[in-house]
Symmetry: C2
Subunit: 339 residues, 2 copies
């Protein structure tokens, strides 16, 4: 049987080869009318998935895009580490962008990646992202998209997450079992789903242990950095006249800020105040006292996210359907001297 080429399809429709190729790859800059015509003709000519894949293979961008909120963050640099290693093994290049937790910038970056014709996108949402239309467009264009860590429940696509409610519930239950009753929570920015879920886990653990929830013990620490931890500890201890027996934070860096303030004031950790972080940064194992935290398996999150993305890219190239997956990465309490 004669092999059908992109050129023949292009000639029959009176459009360019590149438009045919883009239409078959479901690129955003081809109208849906043209796409329908191309796909219809391709099918009628028995342009099979195999020759499909073959023709397309050489025209892939072999590039994926990754958008993260911040680079100088142990969690995200570990994820990027995993993504680069997996991409390298598959012969893919990786364009990395940093949204700096800014919605407008993130929107622009998604558009740039689409314009560039990347084969797929991995993203952890910025704290500023409430509207997800820009990502819905990616899905609508049929470009594989995987959300990790900071996700939106509204988007139908693959996701790699942890069970934030449960992880947070476990931390607070542990602190309560150790005798803590006045547990301050530094919850990060209010908006991201993981901030909401960890807060819910905190609240549920209190309820299940018959400890009244006191909203005055919950502080927003939007930058989730060292300084947020240091300053908020100062503020919380003043506001509650030292009547706090544990500080639990959205991330280790914030907890390390808290530890530094407590050490400076010679407040004994954990005897007077216990401290518990989240994410298990490397430095948490080398500070004094060593910090208890939640191991979130960043490397595994990166590995799994890119694995799903490549599965979707390859399925699409073969013309095969794929199901969206939601993978929950296991977390683990790491108990150290701070609690």
């Amino acid at each position: 049987m004669k092999k059908i080429t992109l050129k023949e399809i292009a000639n029959q429709l009176g459009i360019s080869v590149s438009t045919v190729s883009k239409a078959l790859k479901d690129y955003p800059d081809v109208s849906s009318a043209t796409k329908s015509k191309v796909v219809e003709l391709a099918e009628s000519l028995h342009f099979t998935p195999n020759t499909f894949a073959q023709s397309l293979r050489s025209q892939q961008s072999k590039t994926i895009g990754v958008i993260i909120p911040s680079m100088v963050h142990y969690f995200f640099s570990s994820i990027i580490d995993a993504v680069l290693k997996e991409a390298e093994a598959k012969g893919y290049m990786v364009i990395i962008m940093q949204s700096n937790e800014d919605y407008e910038l993130e929107k622009k970056q998604v558009k740039l990646l689409l314009d560039k014709g990347v084969d797929g996108i991995l993203i952890s949402l910025s704290n500023g992202t409430k509207d997800t239309t820009h990502l819905q467009r990616v899905i609508d264009f049929g470009i594989p998209l995987v959300l990790f860590d900071k996700i939106s429940k509204l988007l139908k696509c693959s996701k790699v997450i942890i069970n934030d409610i449960k992880a947070s519930y476990d931390v607070v239950t542990y602190l309560i079992n150790r005798g803590c009753k006045r547990i301050a929570y530094f919850r990060g920015d209010l908006n991201p789903q993981n901030s909401i879920d960890r807060f819910l886990g905190y609240k549920k653990a209190l309820e299940d242990n018959n400890i009244a929830y006191d909203p005055a013990l919950v502080y927003s620490t939007p930058n989730a950095n060292f300084d947020d931890g240091y300053q908020t500890t100062k503020k919380a201890l003043e506001e509650h006249q030292m009547n706090i027996d544990a500080i639990y934070t959205i991330t280790d860096l914030t907890a390390i800020g808290a530890i530094n303030y407590l050490n400076e004031k010679q407040i004994k950790i954990p005897d007077q105040i216990a401290v518990f972080g989240f994410s298990n940064w490397f430095m948490s194992s080398v500070i004094t006292p060593t910090l208890s935290s939640v191991e979130q398996n960043a490397y595994k999150t990166g590995e799994k996210s890119v694995e799903i993305l490549f599965h979707e890219i390859e399925s699409k190239q073969k013309g095969e359907k794929y199901d969206y997956q939601t993978i929950t990465i296991e977390t683990e309490l790491i108990l150290r001297n701070s609690s």
Copy 2:
């Protein structure tokens, strides 16, 4: 005057527009014979630098490539942070690759970036890189290339470095002035220029202070990680029967490994043994004791490197000559409790 287009040049030479464009952009996949013909004709048709730039502008990849040895490293993630921010401001995308200190991988990555047609490349060499032919090719092809941190003196291109000899000399002189005489040096991998230069600074400071250089006090710590620092401290103290009064290391992470071993053995820092790192990682300011280090201004290194790269890319696009620059970023001793 009629505006000359790439198409006319292509028609006259009987080659494709894309070959003309590539030839004018000095792409590697066009033969030098073709390049000469194209450039000659372009000049004879008064295809001036301006229309040049204009024609080329739309055909730029607007993408740069960055190759670093490792992502999960505070120094490099700070550099990437700066590069992404500057590139964002200029509307450039950044492909990031991680050589894992492996020469073969680095070579492959440089080739991939050239094939991809990036507008310029930033690179910090892997420890395994002795032969730099792959980078000489980049220079020969006229693709802007900027080396930073781990460089090769053999390559003629722009470089952003620190004065490693001086910085290291200053650390060791400071330790000697504090009364240290038996200063162990954990020098990282033997190969990179910065490892060589820091070692030379160490040796010169000893000589200038009439302290005999003892090669048995110098240890190679090729992974320059926490474990290298921990294990090498153990080994050094055993080999020298505790007759060591300072440990100076190639990077803070290694110094933190040393501190951890000393803390475990309840050896007093700095009274019994002082510790001095290099690179001023964030965590050095929050561990116990806080670690003295050399501020290397990673962010500024990244900023300056990408600034030079964009200058060269833009000059090339305008058809203007540019000179290679070597910029030395200032360093500073950060004195903390460990010394």
